[in-house]
């Protein structure tokens, strides 16, 4: 059904630019409008692909946590055992493609990585955590690529 939501965003942006921007006199108001335009741009960029991005991210994060679980099996200590229990307790994949369901899963998976940080991050130079080195490198690479995908060049 046209206009699609991302088209509605573009129409609103065009309307603001055509009718409101020329009326603005203060530099401050013009700056606020420029920020609005940037937000509309982000909305249009992300809208179409957001569900697919979340499905892919959730699948990849879950696979990485599986690798972390396997590596943790070779790490001695109660903290490693607790981390494995935490991974085992992760919720099942989202049962539908509502954004709220996919985001809940995404947040749970990211939270699992946040909780793993005290084991994963020092693995680069802690001998006890050496089995986690490879998954550390892969997780860092994943989060870096994900960050670059989401990045908006606000500061130039």
């Amino acid at each position: 059904m046209r206009p699609y939501p991302e088209e509605v965003a573009r129409i609103i942006q065009a309307g603001i630019t055509a009718h409101f921007a020329p009326e603005l006199r203060s530099t401050y108001a013009q700056a606020q409008l420029a920020f609005c335009a940037l937000l509309f741009m982000v909305l249009q960029r992300d809208f179409d692909g957001i569900a697919e991005d979340l499905v892919r991210s959730n699948r990849e994060l879950r696979a990485l946590l599986g690798e972390a679980d396997a590596a943790l099996a070779h790490v001695a200590g109660d903290d490693a055992a607790a981390a494995r229990a935490s991974i085992a307790a992760l919720p099942a994949p989202a049962a539908d493609v509502r954004l709220s369901s996919l985001r809940a899963e995404y947040d749970a998976l990211r939270d699992a990585f946040a909780k793993l940080a005290p084991l994963l991050e020092p693995a680069a130079d802690d001998a006890r955590l050496a089995p986690l080195r490879e998954v550390r490198a892969r997780a860092f690479a994943w989060f870096a690529a994900d960050a670059k995908r989401r990045s908006v060049p606000v500061l130039g």
Binding site: S26, T27, Y28, A31, Q32, L33, F35, C36, L38, L39, V42, D107, R110, D111, F113, A114, K115, L116, A117, P118, L120, E121, P122, A137, F140, F143, A144, D146, A147, K148, R149, R150, S151, V152, P153, V154, L155, G156
Partner: protein, 332 residues
């Protein structure tokens, strides 16, 4: 804020001023932690016409960070005569009755703050080396300032705890304000705790946001250092780390968009700044990216919760992925 409100306020502060009028009131874009307004006033004093340019800094309804206006006022007052260029503050109104929220008034200095123009415009190419050197010299002066003169300044218990104090402060803010899990920042906090730098010789005045964009400049160089709301006592290398981060290169490969990092450090040390240990600088660079990301997490919470309608806060949320990528590059 309206011109008639300001005129009424000035009449109270300047009882001898006759025919007082306020004009050209304008809000200055940016200033995400405190509103900044500019205005001109003219009056007659004992028959002599007077014209003055003013700045009002007013607390916003919500901001990127919780900051302390009384500290900022105290700082500006203490900086007078110190050799650190800064605007002269005139009045502080903690109850903010005249302008709805707490505010202070200071003189308006000449110059602009536009860091992107400074970094890129051929018009400023000739001034960039001069401003880079002044930026290093002023920073060294800030770090030699006697913090004993600043009663309200937040300070860690000792130089030995300076770095950990900052790490814990920003970690607390993240836990309080984050609307979603932050795995990259958790990795960073783990790294920071494992790479704490050696303590500084003594606690110094740390500006906390000393970057291109937070000082005024004109063709003669730096005319005033602004935005002291994150000032605290700590490790002076913290300021060097902050100004060195990728975000403040403004799309160039130059520190602050001005000169190479090595050149800046050399000029800062030669001007009497602290000795910059490369490992400590890396720690503070990682920390600064983390702190910057957490400032935006706080701003995101303000707009998502409806506490603020400032579009700047909404836009800054989208800076964080770039900061995360930079953090992972640094600690990877």
């Amino acid at each position: 804020m309206r011109e008639d409100q300001l005129a009424a306020y000035l009449r109270r502060k300047l009882p001898d001023a006759a025919d007082l009028a306020v004009a050209n009131l304008a809000r200055i874009p940016g200033g995400a932690s405190r509103e900044t307004w500019s205005f001109d006033a003219r009056w007659t004093a004992r028959g002599t016409p007077v014209e003055r340019a003013f700045i009002v800094r007013r607390d916003p309804p919500a901001s990127l960070l919780e900051s302390n206006a009384s500290l900022e006022f105290e700082l500006y007052t203490a900086l007078e005569g110190s050799g650190i260029p800064a605007p002269r503050v005139l009045w502080y109104e903690p109850d903010g009755a005249e302008l709805e929220r707490p505010f202070f008034v200071m003189e308006r200095l000449p110059g602009i703050t536009d860091a992107r123009t400074l970094a890129h415009s051929p018009e400023w190419a000739e001034q960039r080396p001069l401003i880079a050197r002044q930026k290093a010299e002023v920073l060294a002066r800030i770090h030699r300032f006697d913090i004993g003169r600043l009663r309200s300044l937040e300070r860690p218990p000792s130089p030995e705890t300076a770095a950990l104090h900052e790490v814990e402060k920003w970690e607390r803010t993240m836990r309080q304000d984050a609307l979603e899990p932050q795995p990259v920042l958790e990795f960073a906090f783990s790294w920071l705790r494992r790479h704490l730098p050696p303590p500084p010789e003594r606690l110094a005045l740390v500006h906390g946001d000393y970057r291109s964009g937070n000082f005024l400049f004109d063709k003669t160089g730096i005319t005033g250092v602004l935005d002291w709301e994150m000032a605290h006592a700590g490790d002076p290398i913290e300021d060097v780390g902050w100004l060195a981060i990728k975000s403040w290169r403004w799309g160039t490969d130059r520190t602050g968009g001005l000169c190479s990092r090595e050149e800046f450090v050399r000029m800062y040390e030669e001007a009497g700044g602290a000795k910059v240990d490369p490992a400590a600088l890396k720690f503070w660079e990682v920390f600064s990216n983390v702190k910057f990301a957490i400032i935006f997490i706080t701003g995101t919470k303000a707009v998502v919760s409806g506490k603020s309608a400032d579009m700047l806060l909404a836009v800054t949320a989208f800076i964080n992925p770039g900061l995360e990528a930079e953090i992972l590059e640094l600690i990877g």
